[in-house]
């Protein structure tokens, strides 16, 4: 299980790096699906099977299919690939890369002072649902209202 954690983490990092340097948009989308599925495996290893299932269903299933629909609607074909290639030079990665590396370095510095092990206890659907329909029921209602607002505004924005 522990080797599975590191393996899935490595796959997630590599495929996410492939997403941000990809010029073909559909390939980038497929790498993103791979990355999200790897993160779902990490969730499963960390003892959160409900979150893993939701990650696979909602993120890799629903959200990325939405992306695919929009890419098909916009009809981004071969010419955008050449345009992407001209936009994406190695020079553009220097400044954001340095800034993000500084941020990550500080984060690693902080993290290196922590030395705690987490024991993997399985927290299943029942415990999460008992919380969702108990003390957090108002948050669930607010989330549903947020989704309704997203639905209405997406309909309004995409309308001609």
């Amino acid at each position: 299980m522990i080797t599975l954690f590191y393996l899935a983490g490595a796959i997630a990092v590599i495929s996410t790096a492939a997403v941000i340097v990809q010029t073909n948009i559909v390939h980038a989308l497929l790498y993103l699906i791979l990355s999200l599925l790897a993160v779902a495996v990490v969730f499963y290893v960390l003892g959160a099977p409900f979150a893993a299932a939701l990650e696979a269903i909602v993120y890799a299933g629903a959200i990325l299919v939405l992306f695919l629909f929009v890419i098909m609607m916009l009809n981004l074909g071969q010419h955008t690939r050449e345009q992407e290639r001209s936009w994406l030079s190695a020079r553009m990665f220097v400044a954001p890369g340095i800034m993000s590396a500084l941020l990550l370095g500080q984060f690693l510095n902080v993290m290196s002072q922590i030395d705690q092990d987490m024991a993997i206890t399985r927290v299943g659907v029942m415990e999460v649902s008992a919380l969702l329909f108990g003390p957090y029921v108002l948050a669930v209602e607010l989330a549903s209202i947020l989704l309704l607002a997203g639905l209405v505004s997406a309909y309004h924005l995409a309308k001609k």
């Binding site: 983490g9 996410t16 948009i25 916009l74 922590i114 987490m118 927290v123 999460v128 919380l131 001609k160």
Partner: protein, 102 residues
């Protein structure tokens, strides 16, 4: 009982977040920017799941559900905006939006 150092999980979340940040800062195609935002949101969800595992509570998973809902709503609105932008400017280049005139 198997154990994983808690900082390894948080470091994975941090690396994924920084990769998403690089994507947001470098790409000019707005669809890629939205995808990188998804990566960043997903990394923050991973941090919550790691915290949930560390304390053995289910609250972190509840927060992950909230982040998932937020990401779904954000993507729906963002893709609607992309469609509208493509109708107006016939391009997915974000630099055409640098001059907003209402």
């Amino acid at each position: 009982m198997e154990t994983i150092p808690v900082e390894h999980g948080l470091i994975l979340a941090g690396i994924l977040f920084c990769l998403g940040l690089i994507g947001v800062l470098t790409r000019r195609n707005i669809v890629f920017v939205l995808m990188s935002l998804e990566v960043m949101l997903n990394a923050s969800g991973l941090a919550f799941i790691v915290a949930a595992t560390r304390w053995g509570h289910a609250e972190g998973q509840v927060m992950f559900l909230m982040i998932l809902t937020l990401a779904a709503a954000e993507v729906a609105v963002g893709l609607g905006l992309i469609i509208q932008m493509f109708r107006r400017y016939q391009t997915v280049d974000i630099s055409v939006l640098s001059e907003m005139k209402g």
